[in-house]
């Protein structure tokens, strides 16, 4: 209860959650709101926004309903964001935990490996992976997951390292608890909080990454994605600005909401640190 109270006190976090709920709602309701495929042209091209009730956000270069594209795009963005973040967590958390707890040679080797990945420009690697493996949902999720895991591994390793030298963990060793038991009951519960916070922030970066890939034309050609929509409107910026504007704005709102919620989570789970914000 304490946690929820702290979270609620943060206005930004509340706004973030509300926006997120709205986005999720739109995503879930997409088939009901716009049952037709967003790829189908439904009116004349370059219809301005806020003019026609049926096309509240206008239409694009091929006469497709922008609002429909947005709503369907929400599903795509959220889904790819969440799944690729899970992939990154599945790779990064165990790697970081093992490195942090084992120490010594294992830690060194794993950290060199992580450093290697962090030196490679992540967006460039994602482009290369998706281009080579051909743009489709699977390769996109894999590529994003593969470039996003290093910070998670670092975080988990850092947490586990600091916990390993904490006296209550040492006490657990002296009373004879087995190593797996120590990791599960002493170490991991105290690392869950930062992992959750980082995870929520990562969903935002995953969405940014996915939309950037789609903008460059590396999106799954069957999925209407916000990034693709921004890219599609590039050639008519001056006279049909809304085609690029609304999808980009949707990305901005969603990522902002995720960041706000993530920070709210952080403050709620670490009340000591919130003090710094005065």
């Amino acid at each position: 209860m304490n946690f929820l109270k702290r979270f609620a006190r943060n206005r930004g976090a509340l706004i973030g959650i509300l926006i997120l709920l709205a986005v999720v709602a739109f995503a879930l309701l997409a088939p009901t709101l716009y049952p037709q495929s967003p790829w189908r042209p439904v009116a004349r091209p370059f219809l301005a926004p806020f003019v026609n009730e049926r096309f509240p956000l206008g239409t694009d270069t091929l006469g497709r309903n922008l609002a429909s594209g947005l709503v369907h795009g929400a599903r795509v963005s959220l889904m790819i964001g969440v799944v690729s973040t899970l992939v990154a967590l599945v790779i990064g958390v165990p790697l970081g935990a093992v490195a942090g707890y084992a120490g010594g040679f294992v830690d060194d080797a794993l950290m060199r490996f992580t450093e290697l990945f962090q030196t490679i420009p992540s967006f460039a690697l994602a482009i290369v992976l998706v281009a080579i493996l051909q743009p489709q949902l699977g390769s996109i999720v894999l590529a994003i997951g593969v470039v996003s895991w290093p910070p998670v591994a670092r975080l988990v390793r850092g947490e586990v390292l600091s916990l390993r030298s904490r006296e209550y963990v040492q006490a657990a060793v002296t009373i004879g608890q087995s190593t797996p038991r120590i990791i599960f009951s002493q170490v991991l519960p105290n690392t869950i909080a930062p992992i959750i916070v980082m995870g929520s922030l990562m969903i935002g970066s995953a969405i940014l990454l996915e939309s950037s890939l789609s903008f460059l034309g590396l999106g799954d050609p069957n999925l209407m994605s916000w990034g693709y929509m921004v890219g599609a409107g590039r050639t008519r910026l001056l006279d049909a600005w809304w085609i690029s504007f609304f999808p980009g704005f949707a990305i901005f709102l969603t990522v902002l909401a995720l960041n706000l919620a993530g920070e709210g989570l952080n403050d709620a789970l670490n009340p000591r640190l919130a003090r710094g914000r005065e």
């Binding site: 460039a124 935002g204 590396l218 990034g227 690029s244 990522v255």
Partner: protein
């Protein structure tokens, strides 16, 4: 360890990284659907059967795995990054032509974002709790969530097309044939919008980090000591708080090198900036995989050099580093 040892160690590490990337490139070529020869030829050469035969022979594609790997890596050692059949030029040449433009763009974006970001963050920390702090923090939050390609497009519309303040696309005014100073100014004008939009995300990041770092350092014991000596508030913030708070931000900036280089791809595409990012985009569209992997390799090399540079700066700025190793 001293400077020479440090440099030697980092260079060795850098070479290992580049070696790993070369191996990765090799594996990616084989992982791509289709025949490796077709991948190397790119879409332009895929139809030419004779070309494919030549490639097979040259890269020993019918030989054992390790031999192929060795042949491929040998190419990198002799600075041969492949050949673009579409452009009919060695990949290395294509890249070298465009590298300066990208260095200029990323360099400018880095410096501006670090300078403006830390200044804003420091200001927000000093005015913590007041409206100027809330404003800066909110802006930072917003820019941190802004998709780069979108803000690039939007600022193109507003500042270039509608308001005509800066040029819309390109590196310099074509056909104007400026020389030295005039040319530099012209390029500078073209640089403004791309550099600012590329750096926007990082400006926000450094502002947030600097603010948090300053607030944390402000509570440190040595700050209390300085105040107890009668040092003025302004000087305490400058010489004690900011000077120490900036250290983790510099470290962070170093880690962002990879992101910066990656973001250049988007910026150069939107603003038609003639750098290696644009080259990568064209290679994507043209399915010219040799160029794609070549740019990937070079951008990684850029990041390695950049990391070494920031580590050097950090060593200069933090006197404790010599003692640690």
């Amino acid at each position: 360890m001293n400077l020479a040892q440090f440099l030697a160690g980092r260079l060795v590490k850098g070479v290992i990284v580049l070696f790993a990337i070369a191996v990765l490139n090799f594996l990616l070529i084989r992982a791509a659907p289709g025949d490796p020869a077709q991948v190397l030829a790119g879409e332009a050469g895929a139809a030419d059967a004779q070309l494919l035969e030549q490639l097979r022979a040259r890269f020993g594609l019918d030989q054992p795995f390790l031999t192929q790997l060795w042949i491929y890596l040998k190419g990198y050692l002799t600075f041969d990054l492949g050949f673009s059949y579409r452009q009919q030029q060695p990949v290395l040449n294509l890249i070298m032509e465009r590298l300066p433009a990208t260095l200029l763009l990323t360099g400018a974006a880095f410096i501006v974002s670090l300078a403006v970001g830390t200044a804003m963050g420091a200001l927000a920390a000093r005015r913590a709790g007041k409206w100027s702090d809330s404003l800066i923090t909110t802006l930072a939050l917003a820019f941190y969530a802004t998709p780069l390609f979108w803000i690039a497009l939007m600022s193109q519309i507003v500042f270039a097309l509608k308001l005509g303040l800066v040029p819309n696309v390109g590196y310099e005014t074509i056909g104007a044939n400026y020389t030295s100073l005039a040319r530099a100014l012209d390029i500078g004008q073209h640089l403004i919008l791309p550099a600012l939009t590329l750096g926007l995300f990082f400006t926000a990041l450094y502002a947030r980090m600097m603010r948090a770092s300053m607030l944390e350092v402000a509570g440190a014991d040595f700050v209390k000591t300085a105040r107890a000596k009668g040092v003025s508030q302004a000087r305490v913030w400058r010489r004690h708080v900011a000077r120490n708070a900036i250290l983790p931000v510099v470290t962070l900036a170093g880690l962002q090198a990879g992101q910066l280089v990656g973001g250049a791809v988007l910026t150069e595409t939107v603003f038609a900036w003639p750098g290696i990012g644009r080259l990568m985009f064209d290679a994507l569209v043209q399915r010219d995989y040799s160029v794609l992997l070549g740019v990937f390799f070079v951008s990684s090399a850029m990041v390695v050099c950049f990391n070494i540079a920031t580590d050097l700066v950090y060593r200069i700025v933090d006197p404790r580093i010599e003692a640690h190793a």
